[in-house]
Amino acid sequence: MSAVVDSHGHGHEHHDHHGGYSGIMRWITTTNHKDIGTLYLWFSFIMFMTGGAMAMVIRLELFSPGLQWVDPDFFNQMTTMHGLIMVFGAIMPAFVGFANWLIPMQIGAPDMAFARMNNWSFWILPFAASLLVISFFMPGGAPGVGWTLYAPLTVQMGIGMDLTIFAVHLLGMSSIMGSINIITTILNLRAPGMTLMRMPLFCWTWLITAYLLVAAMPVLAGAVTMTLTDRHFGTTFFNAAGGGDPVLYQHIFWFFGHPEVYIIALPAFGVISQVIPAFSRKPLFGYASMVYATSAIAILSFIVWAHHMYTVGMPVTGQLFFMYATTLIAVPTGVKVFNWVATMWKGALSFETPMLFAIGFLFLFTLGGFTGLVLSLAAVDIQLHDTYYVVAHFHYVMAIGAVFAGFAGVYFWLPKWTGRMYDEALGKWHFWLSTIFINITFFVQHFSGLAGMPRRIPDYPLMFETWNKISSIGAFGFGLSQLLFLYIVLKAIRSGEKAKDKQWEGADSLEWTHLPTPVPYHSFETQPVLK
């Protein structure tokens, strides 16, 4: 005799009370992974618009040579805060939002392992973001040192620098709590039968990302703390006069900073690895090799940091070691790209908005990867280091790569989350506008970089004017296009058509196959058993 239990359809009603609070208190006290995922995603969008507004200021000033709109100090503050906010406020939280929403559903768990800690790790973020914003109103303004916060320029900054350091600490704490939560959830809460090698690739990439975060974050915390003590407590970690070394800061920062690049990229890879098979109606090609390639990228990311520092004057052996190690990253990254293309090969492709963004990601991220290969060659990098070529390169992998993956993910899962479809025609508009404008913005920056325009300058010689004008026009267009995205999402939530349980024919992870649309507030309280 056996008892058979259905996983959904009854017995849930008494649970849908959102923890007993309503209104704002519901969101402040929530420990539900879906609520927290939503909070992360909205927070990230607000930060995306904030950082984007700063980018608009930058592009406005650079529209023409000469100083027109802002003074150089404020310009530096803009580039610094644009970087910090986009990296720590927009992109990272966006993917943590996806992780919160999706990991429990994809592994068949009822929630995250530490639900209350999950709440804390989100609610730290708004405080950190406020500190960054408040720093603008301090004497001396926000720090104007670049998002890399290089010593010893940081010593010259005002109190805004200290607020930024504190904000970075908070952001780091939040990331570490989130990471420990994700690792524990993925390892310990998988449903019976959900072996590691059956997990959707998104879970794998997040598991590895969480590892990277845990390993890298203390290094960042140490770096900014030493900056703080150098500023106020008489230490000389980065000051040659006291026996320190400014380059040590760069080693420490990039030891964190390069894994950080993959902390941003790997979850994006994960999203793409869900979307492409779904619209190819064909399983992901080379699942196991994708897992190995992701791990290889993660490991390599710890031995390549000094390729950000070819111009500090390392010995020739150092230059060569970091050059070889860096070029090696092209191998596992190549494997991923080849696998994605092979997944599409002989599939039955359709091109709904998520797929468009995924293809856009694939194409443009690879372009950014190739300029990365060019930059990895120490000899060429000497010429291109700290020019607009580098700006173009990392915006191709981040502003296009990660952000497009984020858009692909939102369009892909929005029907599942909200139970409502977005407007497909508008989604396509959003894709094409974004793609065209962002390429106008960043493609020409390769040219100005090659021709010799340094980054982080508020004014430039006349020969760079053409490219800067074009770039600025593209940037304004891209910025405006994102308002369309907001409209599409709000329209879908308010009045979108009802979405189907399995909106996308080819989607095969548990949230599509085992849960109704919209997903109930509590899902998988009965863990499914996979055969």
Binding site: A240, L328, A348, A379, H385, K428, W432, D459, P461
Partner: protein, 282 residues
């Protein structure tokens, strides 16, 4: 219907953008500056070589992808195949990129080694970064003892838009660094306050100037002329306003210039020392 419109618009917009870009590329500088040193031209060829390889690979991979986008469409009734792994294929596309990397690594290594070889210089000059100007000390070789500070001369009026901008806007200084043609010049970089970076694109020479430390780089300019670059490490407010200008002259002219500087140095010695000492805080 709507999506067709989107597609047509998008394609034509992309076309227009592409054509515009191509047209502009003829008018605006879009590639590395013309090299005047062996290193810079090596960098130039290495860059071209890698770009050709990369473009071929890019075309191959995305040729396959776009063929798939064109041919394997659901709306054409194409039925999805279900293959999803092949160890052989994975090994092939791991090994081939590795081989390509080795092909690239060889010439890249040669250039790196050449860049780093600062031995046997004919002339050694120390470049010191200050907020926001450069100081030059001729340390060794002909002209030893010459020292001066090099500051932007572009007037505020041009920067703030009250006057038309000149040809060398933001790339002009009061005292250019002068070096002889076809001589190996070693630049020692350091800084007085924060990190700066000394760069002349046409020389393929860039080196961070780090306070408290001395690093070096070298170049051997093969053509007389005036070469201009900018500070490339964010160093505070006027980071964008501390250019580097090097005038490469014939050996004779150089000797003449050295002579002139020596007499000037003798006359202005006290003033220069004071100026150099005061530079970190303007």
């Amino acid at each position: 219907m709507a999506s067709n419109w989107v597609r047509i618009l998008a394609v034509s917009a992309a076309g227009v953008a592409g054509l515009t870009a191509a047209g502009l590329a003829l008018a605006a500088p879009w590639n590395l500056q013309a090299p005047v040193t062996k290193i810079a031209s090596d960098i130039h060829s290495l860059h071209e070589y890698v770009m050709i390889l990369v473009t071929l690979i890019f075309a191959g991979v995305f040729g396959a992808m776009f063929y798939s986008v064109y041919a394997h469409r659901k709306d054409k009734g194409y039925k999805a195949a279900q293959f999803h792994e092949s160890t052989t294929v994975e090994i092939i596309w791991t090994v081939i990129p590795l081989l390509i990397l080795i092909i690239i690594a060889w010439p890249a290594t040669k250039v790196v080694i050449a860049q780093k070889d600062t031995s046997q210089a004919d002339l050694t000059i120390k470049a010191t970064g200050y907020q926001w100007k450069w100081g030059y000390d001729y340390v060794k070789g002909e002209g030893e003892g010459i020292r001066f500070v090099s500051t932007l001369t572009t007037p505020r009026d041009q920067i703030e838009g009250r006057a038309p901008k000149g040809e060398n806007y933001l790339l002009e200084v009061d005292n250019e660094m002068v070096v002889p043609v076809n001589k190996k010049v070693r630049i020692l970089t350091t800084a007085a306050d924060v990190i700066h970076s000394w760069w002349i694109p046409a020389f393929g020479a860039k080196q961070d100037a780090i306070p408290g430390f001395i690093r070096d780089i070298h170049f051997k300019a093969e053509k007389p002329g005036i070469y201009r670059g900018q500070c490339t490490e964010l160093c505070g407010k006027d980071h964008g306003f501390m250019p580097i200008v090097v005038r490469v002259v014939s050996a004779d002219e150089y000797t003449k210039w050295v002579g002139m500087q020596k007499t000037k140095v003798a006359a202005d010695a006290p003033k220069n020392i004071v100026a150099a000492a005061e530079t970190p805080r303007q």
